[in-house]
């Protein structure tokens, strides 16, 4: 039994997941020529060692994950969400506009957790804000 560190649920049995193959395939545009689709659909490496692959936490949070697993040792280096928007949603909220005066709060100020998203994702979030 492998244990996969789901970034939403924590460490879980691989029996909760469905395996979905190589995560590094760049699928072409739908209208791309047949040759490129043939390559994407049929050509796969069978690496001995590090492998980046897709797992779906089907009987968990439902997220599709990109998992780095060593096919020789089964060592799992890490797992992240396949959907970039999941990392945004799990990251800190975008800074709110400082216009309105703050209402008194009963709750002590909590330091914001360290951002877990990649810098480019964070800056994108900032831009949108």
């Amino acid at each position: 039994m492998l244990r996969i560190p789901c970034p939403f649920c924590g460490l879980r049995d691989h029996a909760e997941f469905d395996y979905a193959g190589d995560a590094t395939i760049a699928y072409p545009e739908l209208g791309a020529p047949q040759e490129r689709w043939c390559e994407a659909v049929y050509l796969r490496d069978d690496p001995k060692g590090p492998h980046v692959e897709l797992w779906r936490h089907a009987r968990g949070c439902g997220s599709w994950l990109i998992v780095e697993r060593d096919t020789l040792t089964h060592e799992i280096k890490g797992a992240r969400f396949a959907h970039p928007g999941d990392a945004i949603a799990m990251g800190p909220p975008p800074p709110s506009p400082p216009a309105e005066p703050l209402a008194p709060s009963d709750e002590p100020e909590q330091p914001a957790p360290a951002p877990e998203v990649a810098p480019e994702a964070a800056s994108e979030a900032e831009r949108k804000a």
């Binding site: 244990r3 599709w64 949603a89 975008p94």
Partner: protein, 1243 residues
């Protein structure tokens, strides 16, 4: 009690024969049990247990194993060997036993191949020897031993497999001989016979989590567990024995200055106070990746049968952050002549029987050794009054212990005695070899052949053992991170040294201590050991066994070498060395040493085979757990299941679903019923439960674009209020599934799939959205369980529905073919689409699942008034075949759109999944098999689905196609079929071909026709005028709600009084009462109730809107925004975050969402809620759910998606001892039963 397996006269004779001491008082009750005054043994002599061995009734004591009790009663022959039928006795005192393999139990509980040396004795135990006839005492099969020169390694293969006609002209080819004689051979050579009856016992799996798992409870294991627990670790300690302590249970040496028993008690008390979970009678049978271990707990094997509702065995799947192996070591034998005679056993075993069980296995004993350990056995046996001769193969100068005659440079050459040891021929070392010397009398030969550390569990993790020259043993190689080895398993001998090594292992496991801070390990000084594995003196041959259980001798090893099977893997397979139930625990090292000697290389060079799980045998029942019988796979039921049964439905399996197959009336066969139902659908009106069709909500601003990409046909311009039939392809261009999409609103679509592909399609849509098209703002969610569907087909369909659904205009103009409308039935919202899978005027009407029964009843009442009927999947198939509609019999993963005759559907103006590869030369080839209609030339003929279609002149090979579906057509009055034929209708129309069914020698001439048999113009779909109908009673004002509890479903009758223990859903507010904290049933260890109905909303957010949306949702409900995996309960509703961008809201009103933020959807009817409470609630759930439910990992307020019996569910902890479990409602029935059956063990 009689032995029911034997004919009576023989059984009676046996009893007379086998019990010569039957006269009362004729012999001491247990002749080999030492006097109580000697102070030996930890069995409870104040109580006597009776057990049966063969025909005899014998006595033992609590704390005995079966082997100990047999030895105490001087039963020497307990089994017959596998191949030669040689008499065998007890050879060890542990899992390595190769002689005392017996059958225990009777009737359905008869269990063969039980290790008597580990089987706990209990009152009423029934056991007998096996592989013998009529008995182990007088076994006729022992004639094999005389013929044994022919039965050596490879005999069966050479004799039965290799006579090729070329060599022996009269011989048949290959395995033919084996096929003829196998049954005879299997009967002669073999093991016990299993019961033929179904296993009457229960088994289960438990998921467990811990910080540290310690395997073995000897000095090393106890100390490792203590240190780990003192460091705050949550520790699980497992011990395969029924008592904790390992070798401390028979150790006479002091450990760390204290008597072993005092030390043991002290440590166990400490572990207990530290909260260490200690599991005895539990074997760690496998070690797997990432700290996962498999354990099997023998819960009830110490009793004739389990207590009611208790399991016999329980498999634990433990996830441990770190593992310490203190698995001990196993004593080897020495290969010498007749070293398998009853009376030959390990020296440590002789100590164990003496010190732990108070059984002295022989009054005259010989101890054979080549290391200091044997001297201890000799001294202890002598102290217990035995006459002891010690043979040490070494030339050593050690003071002889009191009462022991020591002979150095001597070893056993040959055991004497035909049915058990009566003496021994001694050999003396002369230079390189051995020379026969004198004979002495002996009753027991205790052999100290050296130790083999138990490294099997490490081997499971790929650790190769390393040969150690000083200790003459394979020691563990470097361990992977998170695993430590200590004690005897690491090669240590002294108990104090083991204890120290256990503590060191704990320190290493904690990663706290540097190498320097480990305690030094000091072993008692020893005289150097010698490695003696065989004593081979010239003279009369006698078999010297290496692997006694599989009858592998030293000569067999040499034969393997001589014939070229020199690699360790070949040696194993050629001789079967190490392939018996003990898996080479005793014999492997001897075999490897002999092979090394034959090859003239070091044993390290020979290497070892890999040990694989399980370490000791595990029953299949234990591995299956509760997943057997009706629970072997989950069962899905529609909300109309009971209603269908009450209307006489015969059910059929459609994947996991139960679906109505047909509804026979009195005297009807399935064919009669199917013909009537199909004809009714064409003539009046018929209703079919189509709930199992997959239904997926597709929501969001980009939903149209998304659908347009996945279907071959255009979806971008589907208007609101319309449905469209669509086909989706796989990426390789092969058809994947078909169905309809109903556009319910601007951003809301309702997709249907086939029953078979619903899960696959759902997963595929998610994959596309999450991994490839993350820019699309689309949410998909299965709503198969939320909505129940009825198909209403036939000329009266509109008459029926327009009478009952008053707020929809059913006229052709208002509600055309492929239209979608929403309305109400009995006050509940319904959605209808005018679609047809039968070619008749037809609608599908969908309602929230709790109202499905009421809807069915309402429609059925009207349909009956119109002369209608219910129809099942059989008639459904008939109707669709008549129209040439394809299903998964045709969309079988090999067929393309063109193959299915749907090529014209494909859009030429937009790209879609599969578009590129569907046009590959191979998939676009017009000569591929394509959909055709088939009718028999002889109209009375019947042909079969699965038949091969052939040219009339070439009935061979794969033919030119196949028949995919057949039915009797009521419309045409004869059988029809669909099939795929090379070139399709264009190539074969009007021609006659053959449907060949070679398995039944069946050949039917069929004519190829268009696949649309009935109404090709589709007049019935859009009738000009509906038939005149009588006026129908309108629908009731309010439909009754029916929860998925099913308490009164007829087949729910379940043995036992579940209701007395568990609450169950019922009318009158009982649900609320059970859920309120005041009525928590404190008196019950665990209880289950059906959750009361409550609104349930699923909210998904687009990435950028997630934070703001969550804040708004929380604010609206007056709760704090829940952290990931947390549920926060407020006054009106609870809000949970169950996925990165998904929230569940229980209670309250539907949250208002802007489509630019996300999507909301009700799952109130989709998920059944079961509330599980009581102090054992978490234990019950751990039988199903692999998630860590320890309070620190899953505190109050935690919520998570979980896997329960292969089903995706959601679990929340709502207070310390209460959980809520949301299940897809179709699975609820079977899972409730499983939970309930499991919960009974705590009654």
């Amino acid at each position: 009690m009689t032995d029911s397996t034997l004919p009576q006269p023989i059984a009676a004779g046996l009893r007379r024969d086998a019990d010569p001491d039957a006269q009362p008082g004729a012999a001491p009750a247990q002749p080999k049990r030492v006097a109580e005054s000697a102070g030996l043994g930890r069995v409870d002599r104040t109580r006597t247990l009776s057990f049966r061995w063969g025909g005899r009734t014998l006595q033992g004591h609590p704390g005995d194993t079966l082997a100990a009790a047999l030895l105490a009663n001087d039963v020497r022959i307990v089994g017959r060997s596998f191949k030669y039928h040689r008499p065998r006795g007890v050879m060890s005192a542990g899992v390595e036993e190769g002689g005392a393999i017996v059958t225990v139990g009777e009737g359905a509980r008869r269990t063969p191949n039980v290790n008597a040396a580990t089987q706990e004795l209990f009152d009423g135990l029934v056991a007998h020897g096996q592989n013998a006839w009529p008995s182990v005492e007088r076994d006729l099969g022992s004639i094999n031993d005389l013929g044994s020169p022919f039965l050596k390694a490879g005999f069966y293969y050479k004799t039965f497999f290799s006579f090729l006609p070329r060599v022996v002209p009269s011989s048949r080819v290959g395995t033919d001989h084996w096929m003829r004689y196998e049954a005879l051979i299997r009967r002669a050579a073999g093991m016990g016979r299993a019961s033929d009856a179904p296993d009457p016992d229960l088994y289960e799996t438990v998921h467990a989590h811990c910080d540290a798992l310690v395997v073995g409870s000897g000095p090393a294991g106890l100390e490792a567990a203590r240190l780990l627990a003192e460091a705050g670790q949550d520790v699980v300690l497992v011990e395969q024995d029924f008592e904790l302590g390992g070798r401390l249970l028979h150790e006479t040496r002091a450990i760390e200055g204290a008597p072993a028993e005092d030390w043991r008690r002290d440590r166990l008390a400490k572990l207990s106070s530290l909260g260490v979970r200690m599991l005895s009678r539990t074997t760690a049978f496998g070690l797997y990746d990432h700290g996962v271990a498999g354990l099997v707990e023998r819960v009830s094997d110490n009793a004739p049968k389990p207590e009611p509702d208790q399991v016999r065995e329980r498999v634990w799947i433990v996830r441990a952050a770190r593992t310490v192996l203190a698995t001990g070591a196993i004593e080897r034998g020495i290969a010498f002549g007749n070293n398998d005679r009853p009376g030959v056993m390990g020296a440590e075993a002789a100590r164990i029987y003496l010190n732990r069980y108070g059984v002295r296995a022989g009054a005259k004993a010989v101890v054979a050794t080549a290391h200091d350990g044997g001297w201890r056995a000799a001294a202890e046996l002598a102290a217990a009054g035995a006459e002891v001769t010690l043979l040490d193969a070494r030339d050593v100068q050690i003071d002889a212990p009191a009462g022991v005659t020591v002979r150095t440079q001597c070893a056993p050459r040959r055991a004497l005695g035909a049915r058990g040891v009566t003496g021994l021929e001694i050999a003396r070392q002369t230079g390189a070899g051995w020379r026969a010397e004198d004979r002495i009398e002996a009753e027991l030969i205790a052999v100290a052949g050296g130790w083999s550390p138990s490294v099997a569990l490490l081997s499971h993790r790929g650790v190769k053992p390393v040969w150690n020259e000083r200790r003459h043993a394979f020691l563990p190689g470097p361990t992977p991170p998170g695993i430590e080895v200590c004690g005897r398993a690491a090669g240590l001998e002294d108990p104090t040294a083991s204890a120290v090594s256990g503590r060191n292992a704990a320190r290493r496991a904690l990663g706290r201590a540097e190498k320097a801070s480990e305690e030094p390990i000091e072993e008692t000084e020893e005289t150097p050991r010698a490695f003696v594995y065989e004593v081979r003196a010239p003279g009369a041959p006698a078999k010297a066994f290496v692997d006694p259980q599989h009858d592998v001798t030293s000569a067999d090893i040499r034969l393997a070498h001589q014939e070229g099977y020199v690699s360790v893997e070949h040696l194993k397979r050629y001789t079967t060395l190490g392939m018996a139930t003990d898996q080479g625990k005793v014999g492997n090292v001897l075999g490897l040493a002999l092979m090394a000697e034959a090859r003239g290389v070091d044993i390290a060079e020979v290497g070892t085979t890999t040990f694989r799980p399980p370490y000791t045998p595990v029953s299949i029942g234990a591995l299956a757990g509760r997943a057997r019988g009706r629970h072997v796979k989950p069962e899905r039921r529609t909300p109309m299941h009971a209603w269908n049964l009450a209307r006489g439905a015969q059910m059929t399996d459609a994947g996991l679903w139960k679906r109505p197959w047909f509804y026979p009336r009195a005297g009807e066969t399935i064919d009669d019923a199917c013909v009537r139902e199909a004809a009714t659908a064409r003539k009046t009106v018929a209703l079919c439960d189509v709930t199992s069709l997959g239904k997926i909500a597709v929501q969001g601003p980009d939903a149209a674009e998304f659908l347009n990409r996945i279907y071959v046909n255009g979806f971008a311009k589907l208007p609101i209020g319309r449905a469209r039939y669509g086909v989706m392809l796989r990426e390789d261009g092969v058809a994947m599934d078909d169905g309809t999409v109903w556009r319910m609103g601007e951003t809301d679509y309702y997709m249907t799939t086939t029953t078979a592909a619903a899960g696959k399609v759902m997963s595929w849509l998610e994959e596309l959205l999450q991994t490839r098209w993350s820019d699309l703002r689309v949410a998909v969610c299965s709503v198969t369980e939320q909505w129940a569907g009825l198909s209403v087909a036939g000329p009266h369909a509109r008459n029926l529905l327009s009478a009952l659904v008053a707020d929809i205009d059913f006229s052709d103009e208002a509600f055309p073919y492929m239209g979608v409308r929403e309305g109400t039935l009995g006050g509940r919202p319904v959605r209808l689409a005018r679609i047809s899978f039968s070619g008749a005027l037809a609608y599908e009407i969908h309602i929230e699942s709790d109202y499905a029964e009421a809807m069915a009843e309402t429609l059925w009442e009207g349909a009956r008034a119109l002369g209608g009927c219910l129809y099942g999947t059989e008639a459904l198939g008939t109707l669709r075949i008549e129209k040439g509609f394809v299903t998964h019999a045709e969309i079988d993963g090999r067929t393309t759109l063109s193959d299915l005759g749907l090529g014209a559907m494909a859009s030429k103006t937009k790209p879609y999944i599969g578009a590129a590869l569907k046009d590959r030369p191979a998939t676009a080839d017009p000569s591929r098999p394509r959909l055709v209609g088939l009718i028999p030339v002889d109209k009375d003929a019947v042909f079969k689905s699965g038949a091969i279609l052939c040219r009339p002149d070439a009935v061979k090979g794969h033919g030119i196609g196949w028949v995919s579906s057949v039915t009797h057509s009521p419309a045409l009055g004869h059988w029809i079929g669909l099939g795929l034929v090379e070139g399709g209708v264009e190539a074969w129309e009007g021609q006659t071909i053959l449907a060949a069914y070679p398995v039944r020698s069946d050949l039917v001439h069929v004519k190829v026709v268009s696949p649309v048999f009935v109404d090709p113009e589709g007049h019935a779909l859009k009738p000009e005028q509906d038939p005149v109908a009588p006026s129908l009673r309108p629908a009731p004002d309010r439909l009754a709600r029916r929860l998925p509890s099913g308490a009164d479903w007829p087949e729910d009758a379940h043995p036992g009084a579940a209701r007395a223990i568990f609450g169950r859903g019922g009318p009158g507010g009982a649900l609320e009462d059970f859920e309120s904290p005041e009525t928590d049933r404190q008196d019950r260890p665990v209880w289950l109730v059906e959750g009361a109905p409550k609104p349930l909303w699923r909210i998904s957010a687009w990435p950028e809107a997630a934070h703001a949306l969550e804040a708004r949702l929380a604010d609206a409900l007056g709760v704090a925004p829940p952290a990931p995996g947390r549920r926060i309960s407020g006054a009106v509703a609870a809000l949970s975050r169950v996925a990165p961008r998904v929230w569940l809201q229980e209670g309250g009103a539907a949250p208002a969402l802007d489509p630019e933020e996300g999507a909301v959807l009700s799952l109130e009817h989709a998920l059944a809620r079961i509330v599980i409470g009581g102090p054992r609630a978490a234990d019950l759930l751990a039988r199903f759910v692999s998630v860590d439910l320890r309070p620190a990992a899953f505190p109050v307020g935690a919520i998570a998606g979980v896997d329960i019996h292969h089903t995706a569910a959601v679990l929340a902890r709502t207070d310390e001892r209460r959980f809520a479990l949301w299940l897809p409602r179709s699975y609820r029935h079977g899972l409730w039963l499983m939970l309930e059956e499991t919960a009974r063990q705590w009654r």
